[in-house]
């Protein structure tokens, strides 16, 4: 579990984030987008194994992107 201060946040590509923090929920501020408007790079604000604990660390951010860095299970549990 961690939340980074703004001065410690490093810009990383989404694929690099998936490599470094596997199977975790990641919250990022987006710094680069592709031509379709989808995020390609950003700065990690917080990461956690728990979706709800992550939310506690990103309350102050008004524009944030959240995703899960692992592969979705198959078959999907809906």
């Amino acid at each position: 579990v961690f939340a980074l201060a703004e001065e410690d946040q490093q810009e990383l590509s989404i694929s690099k984030m998936r490599e470094l923090h596997k199977n975790r929920w990641i919250a990022i501020t987006v710094t680069k987008r592709d031509k379709n408007g989808q995020p390609t790079a950003g700065k990690i604000v917080a990461e956690d194994v728990d979706r709800y604990r992550l939310r506690q660390n990103i309350i102050k951010y008004n524009d944030i992107c959240i995703f899960y860095s692992g592969d979705p299970p198959f078959p999907l549990f809906l």
Partner: protein, 135 residues
């Protein structure tokens, strides 16, 4: 998918496109942060007007209906789109489900390439077709 809430906050998610889902779904905690406190209603005594029962593949559940101010996927934007505030299992790996009401409202076409694991959403201009029909 990029969501803008009633309080002006913006949140972006990796979403699951589900053609069998009638409505789009968002976790209740995120609905709260986007300016919809009514989505986190846990009072067992009173029944709010936006409380709905939903049937899912795994049984029945309760959800709170909210109207998202702005929904964006790529260049496609939809204003005032109904969302269900329901907590999906974390094991899914997705926060948000994009349901049929998004595609109905945008009149967009969904193309799924299973081999390439790609989804293409294109917006069709049905008005042009209607104009041609009129002619």
């Amino acid at each position: 998918v990029r969501l803008k809430g009633r309080n002006g906050s913006v949140r972006e998610y990796c979403a699951l496109v589900d053609q069998t889902s009638d409505y789009c779904v968002i976790p209740r905690v995120d609905a709260y942060r986007l300016g919809y406190p009514e989505a986190s209603h846990d009072d067992l005594v009173t029944t709010p007007a936006n409380l709905v029962m939903v049937s899912t593949a795994t049984g029945y559940a309760q959800g709170m209906m909210i109207v998202m101010q702005l929904v964006e996927i790529g260049g496609i934007k939809v204003e005032s789109l109904p969302f269900l505030g329901v907590d999906l299992p974390q094991v899914m790996g997705y926060d948000v489900v994009v349901g049929r009401n998004f595609f109905e409202k945008t009149e967009s076409r969904l193309e799924i390439d299973f081999l390439a694991r790609k989804i293409k959403i294109t917006k069709e201009n049905r008005n042009e077709e209607k104009d041609e029909e009129k002619k």
